[in-house]
Symmetry: none
Subunit: 234 residues, 2 copies
Amino acid sequence: MNAEQKKILIVEDDFNFGNILKDYLILNDYFVVLAKNGIEGMEKFQKENFDLCILDVMMPFKDGFTLGKEIREKNETIPLFFLSAKTLKEDVLRGFKIGADDYLTKPFDSEVLLAKIKAILNRKNFFNVPESDVYEFEIGKFKFNSKLRFLTYGGEESVKLSPKENQLLRLLVLHVNDLLPRELALNKIWRDDSYFTSRSMDVYIAKLRKYLKTDAKVEILNIHGEGFRLVVGQ
Amino acid sequence: MNAEQKKILIVEDDFNFGNILKDYLILNDYFVVLAKNGIEGMEKFQKENFDLCILDVMMPFKDGFTLGKEIREKNETIPLFFLSAKTLKEDVLRGFKIGADDYLTKPFDSEVLLAKIKAILNRKNFFNVPESDVYEFEIGKFKFNSKLRFLTYGGEESVKLSPKENQLLRLLVLHVNDLLPRELALNKIWRDDSYFTSRSMDVYIAKLRKYLKTDAKVEILNIHGEGFRLVVGQ
DNA sequence: TTCATAGCTTAATGTATTGTTAATAAAGTT
DNA sequence: AACTTTATTAACAATACATTAAGCTATGAA
């Protein structure tokens, strides 16, 4: 996949239908992961960052509603589409109650689905952060390598960063002098924005501040209620 | 209205249908404004902050698509629902292209509409997104950044602004040297103009005056019974 | 398998920020 | 003068954040 492509997770137990849908979306330049059931769907959801989930409702082991609910608990913002042959009002209502962005009844028009996907993914929101392949950064007098996970000050005295420290610092650097919204970091790194992950993030901010305090010109500022901001003085 | 209610703008030329819809939503605890056509719809949209717009597609003078487009230009994130008797695929696609969040064909089930409204308004998606791309301003010798919520004087000595201070100053700046009607600020920021919110606004005016007094050429004047005016001397 | 440990989460505690309301004074209007 | 509107400061409660420490858990070495 290339960095600009949006990632879509499809969870669909009907092998044929799932693959047709997958191919159609790939043809339209999305990066698609297909899971065969709810269990697998949750696993794949946890493993990487998706921009959208399309869930079939009727599936063995774990149905789409249950899966959708679990995903919604982990991530309050990711768009969810339900697919179903059931056109019962109760089901539709249930879908929206879980926090669906749309409920499509089979058969549906693929062009309309595509339009809906586009509309929701092109919407301007701060979760649309382009991926980047860059992994070497300068932060004041520090050098930060996010691939090898270390931080050096003036060419020596290297600090090893843990995976989470590393990811957080990386996100901060990618937004230098600008706002890194709290929710963005939680969604990207923790894949879950609950009270506790938010506390956890605070702990990591404290750790990073400790590492960075050797250079007085480098600071992590808080913007109350919004997020953090890595400032590098000239 | 009370400040917790979500505000919905309905634009619908069919008087009966519009009123039924309005009453139904009011019954479900929304604050609703009904406009009879596209022109009036745009006027009302400009006056206060809505959380959602429901637009009928076929209307005289200005159709729903045109209005939707204009609203989208002003506000990239507000949820838009289109209502139409036309079920033509081309129309649906056109709606989504404009940036619709949903396209409902009449007749539709009111419970389903309600579920969709709830789902989209309870979503934590869009609240934090800056309303506009312009967020850097000069006020005399001050620099004001409404995205990062700070105010600097002569390049240093930065004052952090709280969300409310920030919104108020932003509105004042957007009306520099001109009247910012009290009512407008209350509707936009407090979403409610009662006695208490008005007192609250006075408190914020006092705070801003304190921040701005370093530059004698910058003043917030009161226009008795009308509102405030941010004056910047040459 | 057991053990040590790095890495992460949760708890505990303290501090800061924010927005509303109150209290009181001052200014403007009629 | 009587009334309304605005000014300013302060008290308060509700959140949000900061920091340190303690408690888990998965991983890999022995």
